[in-house]
Amino acid sequence: MSKFTATLERELDARVATPAAPLVAIKQLSVEFPGSTETKQVLKGLSLSVQPGEIVGLVGESGAGKTTLARSILGVPPAPGRISGGEVVFEGRNILDLPEPELRKLRGRRLSVVVPNPRAELNPTATIGKQIAAMARIHLGVSRKEAMRMAFAMLRDVQIPDPERRMNAYPHELSGGMAQRVVIAMALICSPAFIISDDATSGLDVTVQAQILSLLERLAADNDSAMLFITRDIGITAHFCSRVAVLYAGEIMELAPREDLFLRPAHPYTLMLLAAFSHSPKLRDAWSVPETGRRETSAKGCSYAGRCPLAQEVCRERPPPLAEISPGHFARCHFPVVDR
């Protein structure tokens, strides 16, 4: 009886923490990459929800599954990946169950992705103006002329220098920062409800990076769009994400409101990430990782156990659950670091 009450209380708490129905709820999403010898689990039953208008950060190192997640949410995992289970519930429907033509109409229209390294992602033989306008023509069904007008307005909104000239420019004539703005324009021209920013500022100069970030934040706010902000730089998430998730080897290791994550980090991996950015040598030494070699891929146990300075026998035996250690603050660890 008491156990039941406790569970009920937890559920109530969870509802208090996230009062409204989520705009996007990723439930137990699993993606695998078939290889020549073994099938690699890139996402291992990942769950995460985003409220309307909310910006959720997702931090992870290279190979953690960031891009796989960004693309799998729209049902197109990177090749040769395959979605092996789970749901993406958007506006009450599991969109992964929708027939392809239905899902196609949501992509770029209601849910859109801002991709990294955009110069390779743009069609090399079409002008920027045409490519942005194509989004409006395909998804909003507007006339060619109206689409071009919208594309021009959008180029101005993303503050590209000399937008008249850029309308007729080809992707190879753009700098990395300009191409990034173009991709943002393409992602936002249909005013999507949900934006996935997939490491959108990687490979840009720091000053340009800051401009792009504030631009993205402003446009999302103007649009009332929710955003999943995926990055490898945990520092960036501190600026404008209301909640932050830490991804490691296809699993969320810690999920917390921004203040909790940065002031009271609980997972050793989060601490390691924060320590790497820290200016305190003492902290960096305490949480430095002795070896960053091949990640443990053993099925049992915690996937971080091989690199974790706190790892004990149990960590290699049993996978830790994603436990709620304080309201809205989850950590997947047998020995979460709590205030001491």
Partner: protein, 336 residues
């Protein structure tokens, strides 16, 4: 303007290129054993007569002198005379080259339609049945000899089914060929408004065009398929899918980006087929330029051979210049 300066530069290179081609082919043709004077006069000729003919043909001159005489005549528009047809080579080629060109161009169009269509569909589903069919098709198209395939088509469509006319030339014996304007019977017949001649010419084209078109679709198919697979797998195609662009448009954009490679293989085939169609020309008694040249080689009749090489070289150079211009139009990244 940029295009014009480019064209001028390319054209400036055409003359030395042509002189080089003529020199090489002149030496090669001259090295073929056999004395034209002996062949022309027949087995009963006296040595005196042969020596006299050799002198009048300039065959007693040293090789380099013969070459300069040939070049000098070329500048005056004289490509020599064929001793077999006893007509100026230029006149013969003006009549025969368009016949080959008409055949080859239509065959190439068929090959493009078949090759590009199959290639695109095969690339859309790399493991689908069209892809497997394309693999089998590409392999057999490369393996079948064209003259054999032509004979099979003649057997089926002429001998058995009687759908096609007899493989004896470009037009029915009883139909008067149209006044030569372009030299291509179908076009000339249409220009003259002579529908009977048009249909007759078209029906005679059907089997040779089918032969050359179907067999030469192989390389175009393979190139389209490979390039399209690469393009559909590229970042920008994936991004388009991610942005909700309909598959039809994704494929169209990928094809647009594949065109430079496809155009390259088409241009190579075009130049090759001018001479490569000769066996099919012989099977259908086409009377084309390739057939003319081969007869020249077999009978030590060198001027038809050299004339054919010259015509083919000029044609190939034109094709390559046009293709280079097409590249500039197709790919905005090529600016110079």
């Amino acid at each position: 303007m940029r295009v014009l300066t480019y064209l001028a530069k390319r054209l400036a290179f055409v003359i030395p290129q042509l002189v080089g081609i003529i020199l090489v082919s002149f030496l090669l043709v001259k090295s073929i054993p056999g004395d034209p004077a002996v062949l022309m006069l027949g087995p009963t000729a006296t040595p005196d007569a042969i020596a006299g003919l050799r002198q009048s043909l300039g065959l007693d001159q040293p090789l380099y002198m013969q070459f300069f005489i040939y070049l000098k005549n070329l500048l005056h528009g004289d490509l020599g005379t064929s001793w077999q047809t006893t007509r100026p080579v230029l006149d013969d080629l003006i009549q025969r080259f368009p016949a080959t060109l008409e055949l080859v161009t239509l065959s190439l169009l068929l090959a493009i339609i078949v090759g590009v269509t199959l290639g695109v569909y095969a690339a859309r589903r790399p493991n689908g049945w069209i892809a497997r069919l394309s693999d089998a098709y590409g392999l057999s198209a490369g393996a079948l000899p064209d003259f054999w395939f032509a004979l099979v088509l003649i057997f089926v469509f002429y001998t058995v089914l009687h759908w096609a006319p007899a493989p004896l030339g470009r037009i029915d014996m009883v139909v008067i060929p149209p006044m030569p304007i372009t030299g291509a019977y179908t076009i000339d017949a249409l220009l003259a408004g002579d529908l009977e001649a048009f249909w007759s010419a078209l029906s005679h084209l059907a089997l040779p065009v089918l032969t050359l078109g179907l067999l030469n679709a192989g390389p175009i198919l393979k190139m389209t398929q490979a390039t399209m697979e690469k393009m559909l797998d590229s970042d920008f195609s994936r991004y388009e899918v991610l942005s909700g662009v309909p598959q039809r448009l994704v494929v169209r954009h990928a094809l647009r980006n594949s065109l430079p490679s496809v155009v390259t293989i088409i241009s190579v085939l075009y130049g090759y087929l001018i001479g490569g169609a000769v066996l099919v020309e012989i099977v259908f008694s086409w009377g084309g330029a390739g057939q003319y040249a081969v007869q020249g080689v077999l009978n030590s009749d060198i001027y038809p051979v050299l004339g054919f090489v010259l015509f083919s070289a000029i044609f190939s150079l034109i094709v390559y210049i046009v293709v280079d211009l097409i590249y500039v139009l197709l790919d905005p990244r090529i600016s110079n």
